[in-house]
């Protein structure tokens, strides 16, 4: 059940929601969402997995925690949306190609450098086709300005104990597998 999966990952109980709509009203991006947070939780309660994962709601969540702050039942939709993204990613569902590339590079950097490396990121992002030609041109324009300011994507140092990060990652992946069984 999707609700159980969500609550396992996020520690939130979507069933506790009584549908007041405070979250949707407070959400700064609900205007662009397929379903507002309230309806999203409702769909989760009804176990409509397909519709839930198809929606753009959790991808649009800017994690501003407005909903969390207001919720009379102490539920955090922000964390629920992280959980939904986790679930989607595991099933290979991304809202668009850009996000997919962005995520993959980020994770790669985590494991390779232990930090996010802007310089390498920009190169890889463009190389993998994370940006279309039009955006690229505009970005180059912006990039030039930034460059003039000395705001250049820089390469960040690797951390020393990279093996610790790897081991933590492996432990998480292992636990995940055990949970499934």
């Amino acid at each position: 059940m999707i609700a159980e999966e969500v609550s396992k990952i996020s520690g939130e109980n979507p069933f506790a929601c009584f549908q007041c709509g405070d979250c949707t009203g407070s959400c700064p991006v609900s205007f662009a969402m397929d379903y507002g947070p309230r309806r999203m939780i409702h769909l989760i309660q009804l176990n409509l997995e397909e519709e839930v994962l198809k929606a753009n709601t959790h991808w649009l969540c800017a994690s501003c925690y407005n909903c969390t702050y207001r919720c009379p039942r102490n539920i955090s939709f922000t964390r629920i949306s992280y959980a939904l993204r986790n679930i989607s990613v595991k099933r290979g569902i991304y809202p668009n190609k850009t996000t997919k590339i962005f995520y993959e590079i980020f994770l790669d950097h985590m494991l390779k450098y232990g930090r996010f490396n802007e310089g390498i990121f920009v190169r890889e992002f463009v190389a993998k086709g994370g940006k279309g030609l039009k955006e690229l041109l505009r970005d180059i324009n912006l990039g030039l300005k930034l460059w003039k300011k000395g705001k250049i994507p820089k390469d960040v140092d690797k951390i020393d104990k990279l093996d610790q990060i790897k081991k933590i990652y492996e432990a998480c992946v292992k636990e995940e597998k055990e949970d499934k069984q």
Partner: protein
Amino acid sequence: MIGVLICECNGAITLDLKSIADSLRREVGDVEVKIKNAVCIDGFEEFKDYEKLVIAACSPQWHERTFKNFAKKHGIKNIYIVNIREHIAYVHKDGAKKAKAQIKAMISKARAGENGLKKEKPKELKSVLIVGSGIAGLTAALELEKLGFKCYIVEKEGEIGGILKDVPIVYPFNKSGEEIIREIKSKLKNTEIITNAEVFSVSGSVGNFDISVMRKIEDLVEVKSIKAGAVVLATGIEEFKPHDMVEYGYGTYKNVITQLELAKMLKEGKVDADTIVMQLCVGSRDEKFFSYCSKRCCIYSIDHAIMLKEMGKDVYIVYMDIRTTWKSEEELFRKARELGVKFIRGKIVDILEENGKLSLTLEDTLEQKVKTLNADMVVLSSALKARETNTILAQLFDVETDSYGFFKKFYPKIRVVETRRRGIYLAGAASEPKSVKEAILEAKAVAKKIATELKASFERARASVNEDMCIGCEICYKLCPHRAITMYSAGETSKAKVSEESCKACGTCVANCPTGAVQLPGFSTKEMLAYIEEIMKADIEPKIATFVCYECAYAALDAAGMSRERYPENYLIIPVPCLGRVGLLDVFKAFESGASGVLLVGCLENGCHYGRGNKNAEMIVELTKAILEGIGLEKDRIDIIKVVNADYKKFVEKANGFIEKIKELPKLEVKV
């Protein structure tokens, strides 16, 4: 000589009663044993004028009173009932050995005990102190007056009437709060109302409370002492001021007000706005503030909405669930809808003020749209919360409050106006938000309860303290669930004293007294130890000492019997009034006398009839486990289970499982 009477129950008790009787005669001296059919019909005249009679029959739940009535008639001072039907014949294949042991143990107990029944002193005071002068307090006074009581009402404020006095129209009376209060007050004849006053000290117990009240008259303080037989806490409720919910801008925007503030405007007949939006559940049903529902906001919001609508205003009500229960409330809800009050299902997220106009954002959950509403005024149906003075009063009167500051009812189903302390009662919203109707009903119920309480004089056992043995350790004082024990100073140390009126005879003090100074007739240390020692002589292995509380647990075992469930006869039953009566001494006496395991059977969590006997028992179980481990024994030898009558199957399951565990453990060898 102790009499022993075994009932045949028409043959339903399928044990070899004759051989049980024979062996009792043989093994126990100084007893007169008789077998008889249908004791509950015919009585036991043959034992006339016996000091003590042990009756082995069905569960005392059925015929304890019948037998007591017979005993009174036949001049028998004490009867002891052994349940050989529901607890033995109905549940075991071969229960003769257990039956014999249970009867013998009861004889030993009877022999060790003495008559502990004492009649209470009649209560003479016919006066009652009421804290709070809202509708509940006033009605209670009125009803009590009619029953011949003198009442004192202590009111903190300068005016009487509580929260009600500001309400323009009280549902369902169609009168203003002021009017209602005035009407009741005019009927009071034998009641002294003390305004601007607060209780500051309390002593005594039911039938005879001594209460000091401090009264402010301008800059002076006057102390008044009042004697009362009982106390009613009717402190009512107050409205939560939602300053902390900044999204509504209460306190910042002048046109964002609460329902009670609107009520005052309506009372004056002046509401300076055309479009009014009401938000329900402000602070209520909200985990961050008050997770309960305030119960009354729906109805008075709708009331106000109708009044506003009739003044020609445009009214919106923003709600999540409309809770207008029963007939007239539901009618009012329909009327509001029909009048054109607009109901929006959602919750206001944000209020902004611009040029005196308010603009609100919310999701209309039925339309699935985030909307902006414009209004001249926003009315917040703010939560109703407990009075802040409740906690102080609770300390003074030694009663409990819950996490919200409401007074705790003794038991939410049937003892809603009583507290854990005898003689102290609750009326109205002091224990939960309530309607005026309910408050009146409670006030009346309180009057009845007080009338009965102050009239009654029970004949019953009570704990008492042997002053010479008391070392002033305060354990009993701290554990007593009814606050019946007080400490007084006696020279260098302090000593405990039991209030006879407040003691409910649960035995918690006896079980935990380190010196045996406090005793409860019927369940004194001597009696219990004699019982345990004797019952552990049963010819059954392994033996499990089963402490059964006389409330839900005993009833659950009875229910198991009535349903003819089966469990092993290894469970030797030691009845106690409450699990609180089980102490370390009793548990280890059982082990020492040959028990391989100990099982405690008690009432549910929060369901202890005496308040917290089962919690004390849990503590004893933990301690026992630690000690067992410490002396190199298995800690699994002791366990506790909490059941009710309806869940008797749980006990049967437990009984069938626990024995297997015990059997796996090595036999306990106790060297003498």
